[in-house]
Subunit: 333 residues, 2 copies
Amino acid sequence: MERRPTIVDVARAAGVSKSTVSLVLQNSPLVRAETRADVRRAMAEIGYVYNRAAATLRSANAGLIGLVINDLRNPFFTEFATSVQMALSARGYATVMANTDEDPALQAQVVGAMIEHGVSALILSSAYGEVAPTFDQIARAGIPALQVLRRAHPDTDRFPFAAPDGPRGGRLATEHLLERGAKRIAFVGGLPGRSVTEARLAGHLEALAEAGLPPLVLEGRPVRAFGREAAARLAADHPEVDGVLCFNDLVALGLLSGCAEIGRRVGPDLKVVGFDDIEECAQVYPTLTSIRSHIAGFGQQMAGTVLAWLEEGVRPAPVTSSAVELIARASTL
Amino acid sequence: MERRPTIVDVARAAGVSKSTVSLVLQNSPLVRAETRADVRRAMAEIGYVYNRAAATLRSANAGLIGLVINDLRNPFFTEFATSVQMALSARGYATVMANTDEDPALQAQVVGAMIEHGVSALILSSAYGEVAPTFDQIARAGIPALQVLRRAHPDTDRFPFAAPDGPRGGRLATEHLLERGAKRIAFVGGLPGRSVTEARLAGHLEALAEAGLPPLVLEGRPVRAFGREAAARLAADHPEVDGVLCFNDLVALGLLSGCAEIGRRVGPDLKVVGFDDIEECAQVYPTLTSIRSHIAGFGQQMAGTVLAWLEEGVRPAPVTSSAVELIARASTL
DNA sequence: CTGAAAGCGCTTACAG
DNA sequence: CTGAAAGCGCTTACAG
């Protein structure tokens, strides 16, 4: 039957040894240009396809990176994951991707599967909770693993962490609301005790304290539905609130919908700032002021970071914060 | 150095031969329960991790499925990809996922990389355009490949195609608009000549013809920004239009924003139907009537279909349409 | 039910 | 620059 051709077949067709073919495959400078061309031609002729499984078995680097995401349906994480994957692809790596739906047990399982598949490194936007099983496996496998966006495991020496600067973003947003004349500001959405919530809230509370204003925090799931609910709750329970910093854009977009529903004008009556600046912020009405996390760029950077670690042994700093900036739009006019 | 343990180490620890270990790994009924337990215990003790690259080299099925998506940032495709990936994961398969950003050349490249990595099968929501390089490679590799959502390659005998029922959805949406009293209906968004546009439009035009109404089609990119623009264009150029079927939910959501912007009331003044029923439809204000494609269920089904093909040789029918239904909400009240 | 042997398709020293 | 040989960690018949 039509067995897939191997380097032996290529060697025969090109009239060289299989070692030479292997060297050509690795772009080794040891092979003469002419020989290289002969070999390449032979490959094309007989339809040779490189078998990475065999190469992996012998060498180690499988050219596979694992990407684990807590919520791939959330557009923020989708944008991140997509930009990581495309950057890795451009560097010749394939990406095994898995959504964990915020479930640490499922996360441990998919990470185990990825290790079996021989991923050379991992990028992990972890679920919260019992993450020991996940990280123990990674430690045993001894592969580079980068924590991104959420600091789920405290040992950042072993598992370096990188994320957009949450405290700075919280501060910028709050200062902006104050500049635009807000007198009573609420922080809406985000679950307590989670690293992202803590970071964003910290900057917010600092700026608020400096302005001599008391905090008002409405905790909640970081989803549209909560934002929508919050619009009604704010109007009913805290009518004096005239400025809102949302935990993320989804909450803010939900809040916008909720305000439209109850006839509250966003901008004049209630100033709203989102967080992350996903694409939709510029498309809704009114357009949404947000803290830009430059998530696509951040994803590309993480791809570069993990490959530098893997290929050149450049271990990233334990903690890295990437720059954020405020994008002012109609929701705070 | 700390070499990763192999089946030889397990065999030694358990006091059996490595063949036996291999059989245990494959859950072969040939091994006695007691022996199996001994082996499993030994594995746990020495921290054995299965090396799939080695297994693949010898056997073939790598337990890896390739998932190629034209636009992973679009929430409709994200939902699809995520549900496929999670269903595959539940069946013990890992997913190599890649976004092609609608670029057929990039698609050919990522498909080539996936084949090198030894994916056992492919699920492909293809880019449009020059897809021959993509499908030629797949044919040469001789692996099962399922076209989903978009019929990019005409040879559905070789590359079976499955998608939610576009004509039926187009018809249901149009009939609903008519029932709700719309007298002049436009179809907004979708690029001409593409399989999805053609399918949805076909059902729409049929239903319109049966009602004796003339068509009005505004072609455009299937994105929010186009929908937003379309709101203004409709108001200016076709003020008589009182019902709109959008190519997809993104266009419809953009249209809703655009209507809010120009102060046109969706529902009373203009009835709007989206297509696919992504999660956001139930969250916006006003809530959006849409054709539910059951995309998560569809994704799970596709995972099952490709595994049945791969594992049991059950080749799918050349063309499969999955059921759609209309979900009526406030945008057509 | 278990063991010994060959082989999957590469890469890696090691000679030449 | 090129070739012959060993070996990566499994699975697969084949005996027993």
